[in-house]
């Protein structure tokens, strides 16, 4: 802790970083804001942790195992198609 204290006054606050994290991940921050966001991360390990945890949360949600569908359901949907097609062929002669 012998470092000269950084001047933090013009920087984004941690609270602002937390509010902007989704916009940052969506690559929708205007270039200047994007730069300020990364300047903050460069000097703030807790915000790096936070931003990484949000990213990890998103990855984990993407890795949730999906439920299986029933083959039965698909058969019903195929019947539905065949009925529709039959009705359509009949009404073509109208």
């Amino acid at each position: 802790m012998t470092n000269e204290p950084l001047d933090l006054t013009g920087m984004l606050t941690c609270q602002e970083v937390v509010e902007l994290v989704t916009t940052y991940h969506e690559h929708l921050l205007p270039p200047e804001e994007h730069q300020r966001f990364e300047a903050h991360l460069a000097i703030c390990p807790p915000c790096r942790t936070y931003v990484a945890q949000i990213a990890q949360t998103v990855r984990m949600m993407g890795a949730l195992t999906a439920e299986q569908e029933s083959a039965e359901g698909t058969l019903v949907l195929l019947d539905l198609f065949r009925d529709w097609k039959r009705g359509r062929t009949l009404s073509d002669t109208d």
């Binding site: 998103v58 990855r59 984990m60 359901g73 019903v76």
Partner: protein, 220 residues
């Protein structure tokens, strides 16, 4: 983008001619998405009903479909509308619109008391007072299989979300749809979509954080 439109177009033309293969292609691509989407609103059995109504509507309206919007968004939007209607009829959920109205309230992502209310020891207000703690080393992201407990935590956190937030996070982060697709399906603006996604992700992260920190306090 153009390839997608061409692909959609050839499927639409084939389907209009009654080509079962084209229909099967669409089923393979979108049926599981339709079902999972429906289950956000109604129970498992009713979700099958929603799927049937959706595909019936697709067939009945395919002649009028103008490929301005991608076929995928069109199909999923039909599914969402069918599911909402059924949910309302069964009174399983409160009307979407009333929830949407409530959701413009300014709730903060992380409790404000985690941040300094005023400058302290040369650190300005708005910086961490109680910084987030790292999570234990997890399996690498490539390791796609999540622990059952973690899955439960995530699922519970998502179930606790208010409806529009839940819809957006499920479509974006679980089903992997793009922001554009989600906006088209739910008929919301890009900004609103992002606000909902932000709040939802923040809450799921908070739930995971609580889980991981407890695990550490209990010394695993």
């Amino acid at each position: 983008m153009q390839a997608q439109i061409d692909d959609d177009l050839s499927l639409i033309i084939a389907l209009r001619q009654g080509d079962e293969t084209a229909y099967r292609v669409l089923l393979t691509r979108y049926q599981s998405l339709v079902l999972r989407l429906a289950r956000m609103y109604v129970g498992h059995e009713a979700a099958e009903e929603v799927a049937q109504e959706t595909w019936l509507a697709v067939l009945h309206h395919i002649d009028n479909f103008e490929p301005r919007a991608p076929l995928k968004s069109w199909i999923l939007r039909i599914a969402v509308n069918k599911a909402r209607t059924l949910a309302r009829r069964e009174d399983r959920t409160i009307a979407f619109s009333s929830l949407l109205a409530n959701d413009t309230s300014s709730e903060s992502a992380v409790p404000p008391d985690r941040f300094l209310a005023r400058a302290t020891n040369g650190i300005p207000a708005g910086w961490w007072a109680i910084p987030p703690q790292p999570w234990p080393e997890m399996q690498s992201p490539e390791d796609a299989v999540l622990g059952a407990e973690v899955q439960t935590i995530i699922n519970q956190a998502i179930l606790l979300l208010r409806h529009p937030q839940r819809e957006v996070i499920m479509l974006r982060d679980i089903q992997g749809l793009t922001a554009q697709e989600v906006c088209a399906i739910l008929d919301i603006t890009e900004t609103h979509q992002r606000v909902l996604l932000h709040r939802a992700r923040t809450k799921v992260r908070t739930a995971l954080d609580r889980y991981f920190q407890e695990g550490q306090n209990n010394d695993q």
